[in-house]
Symmetry: C2
Subunit: 587 residues, 2 copies
Amino acid sequence: MTGAWKKPDWGRVLPILDWGSRYDRTDLTGDITAAVIVTIMLIPQSLAYALLAGLPAEVGLYASILPLVFYAVFGTSRVLAVGPVAVVSLMTASALAPLGLTSVTEYIAAAGMLALLSGLMLLGMGVLRLGVIANFLSHPVIAGFITASGLLIALSQVKHLIGIEAHGHNLPELLWSMASHLNQINLFTLMVGAVALAMLYWIRTSLSPFLQTRFGVSANAAGTAARVGPVFAVIGTALVSWLLDLPSLGVAVVGDVPAGLPPLGLPTGVWDRIPDLLLPAALISIIGYVESVSVAQTLASKKRQKIDANQELVALGASNLSAGLSGGYPVTGGFARSVVNFDAGARTPAAGAFTAIGLLFAAMYLTPLLYFLPKATLAATIVIAVLSLVDLRVLSHAWGYSKADFAAVATTVSLTLAFGVEIGVAAGVLVSLFLFVRKTSRPHVAEVGLVPGTQHFRNILRHKVVTDPTVLTLRIDESLYFANARRMEDMILARVLKDKDSLKHVILMCSAVNEIDLSALESLETINHRLENMDVTLHLSEVKGPVMDRLKRSAFLEEITGQVFLSQFDAFHSLRENPEPSSGEAA
Amino acid sequence: MTGAWKKPDWGRVLPILDWGSRYDRTDLTGDITAAVIVTIMLIPQSLAYALLAGLPAEVGLYASILPLVFYAVFGTSRVLAVGPVAVVSLMTASALAPLGLTSVTEYIAAAGMLALLSGLMLLGMGVLRLGVIANFLSHPVIAGFITASGLLIALSQVKHLIGIEAHGHNLPELLWSMASHLNQINLFTLMVGAVALAMLYWIRTSLSPFLQTRFGVSANAAGTAARVGPVFAVIGTALVSWLLDLPSLGVAVVGDVPAGLPPLGLPTGVWDRIPDLLLPAALISIIGYVESVSVAQTLASKKRQKIDANQELVALGASNLSAGLSGGYPVTGGFARSVVNFDAGARTPAAGAFTAIGLLFAAMYLTPLLYFLPKATLAATIVIAVLSLVDLRVLSHAWGYSKADFAAVATTVSLTLAFGVEIGVAAGVLVSLFLFVRKTSRPHVAEVGLVPGTQHFRNILRHKVVTDPTVLTLRIDESLYFANARRMEDMILARVLKDKDSLKHVILMCSAVNEIDLSALESLETINHRLENMDVTLHLSEVKGPVMDRLKRSAFLEEITGQVFLSQFDAFHSLRENPEPSSGEAA
């Protein structure tokens, strides 16, 4: 590579060049079919999520158009569908609430700015190839966060289902606010809400088996019907609302939705709010990215395709940037819509572009039809969608496996519920890291002996092994670094003191030591020195290559009173005083 | 122990009961001799450090009396001398400056409050047995912090040495402030400063060899003379100052110092400042504790005595509490004074109590003699004392050993100089932790083979080893947890894909895996599943006891397509297709 310019890999930077060049008629058919189905599903969902974010319904449509196109150009997943999703909508609401914006125009502009900032951050992270930071969100933390967010989202929709006011971005606020407005309950809204909820629940759980058993519809077609089914609940309740003039009975409806193209341009009037939006934008970026990448990876593995984590940052960055510039709000790859896209036979990201055309059509011509659509119907759509996110079993699963994992999940769930999404997820990450560091700072040290008939050494407390009273072997089960160096020093010296009359050699078996930092090196020097004072020789065994390279740069290998053995067996074999061949170790 | 009350171990809670019961005449002689020498040394030092903290000189004396007594009662070191020290004095100045206190009385009260808070925190940490948190300050971070603080302290004294005003708690502030007041230089002050500096430097470096070679004084006595020598510089310059009436020539002197007992009681008038003092108090507590414990441990190991880290927290807590209640300011165990105490033959903490009596006498009767003492002399005392703290070799030492350690030291040194002590030390700890986590998130994975003639497996790139084309063994050199699980998954699958035609078995050698958390378990399940799709069997070997216990609680051991082998040799031996006995491994 030296001296030559590396030819840019355009297929990597613009995945569209890769699949686009091989696009054929089969791809087109699959993509168009999927696009029609996804479009029908996305219309009510986009409106509903905009409502969840506290935004006018059309913003949800706008956020579903350009982002899909940009993802199609830059994304590496063949089937990921980008747009408004539940958790990010909740995070948007939670980010904008403290700004105290009074006009809707300002609120929309702030949401756009949030998407813009999030897009820039994602692009920056992509350029810097920081996809790896998503790894710091552990699976249990993500699961806990999604579950708690799902609960918060469902609860936040209750107000629309029963026709009261309520505000708040965490459990106590929401419950308190709801309790104090209970007297506002509107019976007609409650009825619409209950019917919509029941219909949607039935469509989700029973429509597909019903069609299959009653009408012999194929499993695939029945599944698709169940996915587009919610649109009938939307049409049905909107129709009833129009026929009975429900708005006059106090039922909240979507009302006037401007028809037309999404507005293009920078969000205006909220530039001074950028400092307040930076932290929420960062959290939305990371959570959105993690959610999106896991969906993309799950679906890609089913078809043995590959996701490029860093390119996904670029693609989501471009999508959010476009959302911010076209009257939308933060978007990411959604699970439900991507699964539908996948199941409906989407073959390339062009399906996303076709979906965008469908939604553009909806934004231009269908919005007048939404006037009488009850907000309760949209709320029911959200509740049914997010209840599948809620899975409290992650708590018992983590409890059964490890208390540290449980602590991380429990912290994430409880803090998300108690203080909202931002504090919840930040605390989850910090608690996970803290527990990891705490664990490594309290290392396990095993006294080991030779497993008879082998050259293998194991814990004397767990296995029947051969030992020698003059030789103590301690296997150190942790990298040695500043947080555990002093403790290790104390543990080793305390153990040696117990047998200091018989002991002649101490071997530290380093098979599990992946690093020795400068603090730990000083501790090793201290141990060597103290043992020397007790006439005990210090040896090391099974020091790994990278660790040995490091030690060679220090004076320790000259100072150590004993030797560094390649294998623990070599060490034990040459140091023990009574090598009884009868004990049965390998010759 | 069950069902019975554990009798309290009073000797542990009050170490004085332990050594006090065996106190004899030899102890008394040693302790009194040491106390006289330490007292003479501490009088100028206490005054100087008070000056460094921005406090009146007598506060330094007060802070050296009761804390010594309380440490004698609670401390576990036989020779640690507690009182004002350079770094903590600098931190005190840095904590009090932003409060904008205008009257000296308030400033003194705030310093007392800082000691009180620090005492309570240390006591609390002692009761909760949190001595372990000191381990999170790595050796290089401490060394870098002490060096940078030493530089800041020396620089902060230049103003007294040349008679100008200057303020600031970091390098840029100090340099700028000094540069803009250079026109104030007082020639007489400059002369006193230069003479005092030269005298003190000569006493420190040359007095002992001079006495030994010229007058045949014993090394021990000459060393003691060098330690108490600074008092002659103090007496000399004070005498000159009085004879020539230097104050009338613009030379700043200590002036009126109230004679009498330290004022007892709670600091008053600064209770509303407690919130501002909490963070500085916490940092002072931790830094002071770490400094003190390392001094105590260094000296204890010379006499094979033991320091109890948690009891030291209690002892320092009590000392600081007493400092706060007797007109002092935050104190800790100092290196110089403890070494002098040790060298002068102190045998028990009673030496500290006798020193306290000496300093009480000084506070009551000697303060009038200090009127004419030039502040430049005290500044010279500080400069000479702290220059021994400055050791920039820690930077090159760390650079030679590891870039991560170097990054931690360099961050600590540069941020301490640039932004002051608080930011410097906090950044050092965070950078160390960040680098550790970053390293563990990018694990080393080695492909290993059998070292001929042994049952030992090593990296194929570093050793001449036997391998088999159908069996791939990967040694994972890190605990598996959320931050590296996904990356490990990618690395393993990428490696397997390279040889997927010939491979039948993959063995993950887990000798260095000290933990598998829930995220990593999910990654292992994914790897198992993907390999199964490629008709490759997954095996584990050398899984440690604690990790195995955890895996047994999951379903993974039932799902895994292969086996878990006790040793890597067992695994390789039973899976390879062409076990050629000629290849030379152990039978």
